[in-house]
Symmetry: C2
Subunit: 211 residues, 2 copies
DNA sequence: TGGTGTGAACAACTTCACAGCG
DNA sequence: CGCTGTGAAGTTGTTCACACCA
């Protein structure tokens, strides 16, 4: 689908997600056409940035008019891959993991947890609110293969994260969303995204400290 | 404390947090000296990058030797502001908020929640595991002033986030850690850090889709 | 000798400014 | 005429290469 085979800047991908969410809001509000200027205001970025970002993937606008909300949203969803659901597995059902399992913003976008793993014998067998049963980690590989899991989310303590990542890689799973506050390596070909609460807090603390 | 009054790249600040965590690990492992090459491996960045990042704040190394772990960690903690505790307030005690309140990785680094707010009458008065009582949002301003809260964490649904941010700004609070999947504006002088799970998942989906 | 600190070269990303088209 | 698409300019961030010093 990409018109340009060239490399897409990582920041462009991040913004694409942002555009998608604003367009979803606009669609709910029955807005049918939007200019890059107006969308830029909503997303808090430069208008030229939006137009440039989009040219990596094609020409979606109409000169003199703007972008049709439905059409652009459809295209961005297709680019990201949100035109079909994604099966996820969750590993580590402490406080954070349990909250993530039921996090409705994931399911709204087509991300669905189809498996949940933990090693604590007291947790095995528990049915979560989202109707998912906690299963033992030693069945992870088999179950992930059976249920065609494409993305693994790691919410274990930092010490266990590398081990779990290696396990997921063996499934093989190509994408890992990591919530553990640690830095680790994954095999070439596996894409790792870190969600780093503590890092963000440190950034805040720095800015409040230095100003 | 900064030797250079010049602007520090945001990416440098993010990496500082990463360096701190690796140095904390090294300290626990009784490593007393480390070179930029070795630290770079651990952090998965370029060695020159580390040295350059540090020069924004001073000269912390010894030529021919490297960096003393204790000393460098102390300096980085001081730069970030981790040499003293930070009082935080949490707003929104759904699944995610409740998990955050008890998230031990925050308290380990000197971040402590000293107030928790929600609007749901059924939740008011509940004592969380971390020994914090849920209080009504309409007391937010007064309580945050009393308890000298410096940072607010928003874990409400997206629709409520802007409203809560405005309230926090009135305290006034200078830093906001936002977990709600929405984009909003804060007054000049307030620093906003977004933790965007869904955005990260979208990035993952994109990479798995386009390769 | 070995590893830091740093100016200079390089690479990446963002913004401008305007051509081109509906 | 208005707004997109886009080369070119500008800005920011990263890496190199080596002087310098313990």
């Amino acid at each position: 689908m990409p018109n340009r085979p060239g490399r897409v800047p990582p920041a462009t991908v991040t913004r694409l997600s942002l555009y998608a969410r604003q367009l979803e809001n606009l669609k709910s509000s029955q807005v049918s056409v939007i200019s890059s200027d107006r969308l830029a205001e909503l997303c808090h970025v430069n208008p030229a940035q939006i137009r440039k970002d989009l040219t990596y993937f094609g020409e979606f606008g109409v000169r003199g008019v703007g972008y049709y909300v439905d059409e652009l949203l459809f295209q961005i969803h297709k680019i990201i891959g949100l035109n079909h659901p994604w099966n996820l597995a969750l590993v580590g059902l402490g406080n954070l993991g349990t909250a993530l399992a039921c996090y409705s913003n994931f399911s709204l976008r087509g991300y669905r947890f189809v498996a949940a793993f933990d090693n604590d014998p007291h947790k095995i067998g528990i049915h979560l609110d989202c109707d998912l049963e906690i299963e033992p980690v030693d069945r992870l590989i088999r179950i992930c293969r059976e249920r065609e899991v494409k993305i693994g989310a790691i919410a274990t303590p930092a010490e266990k994260a590398q081990e779990v990542a290696d396990l997921l890689t063996k499934v093989p799973i190509k994408g890992i969303l990591n919530f553990a506050p640690t830095q680790y390596h994954v095999k070439e070909g596996v894409y790792l995204a870190n969600v780093d609460f503590t890092g963000k807090l440190d950034e805040l603390a720095y800015h409040l400290t230095s100003s």
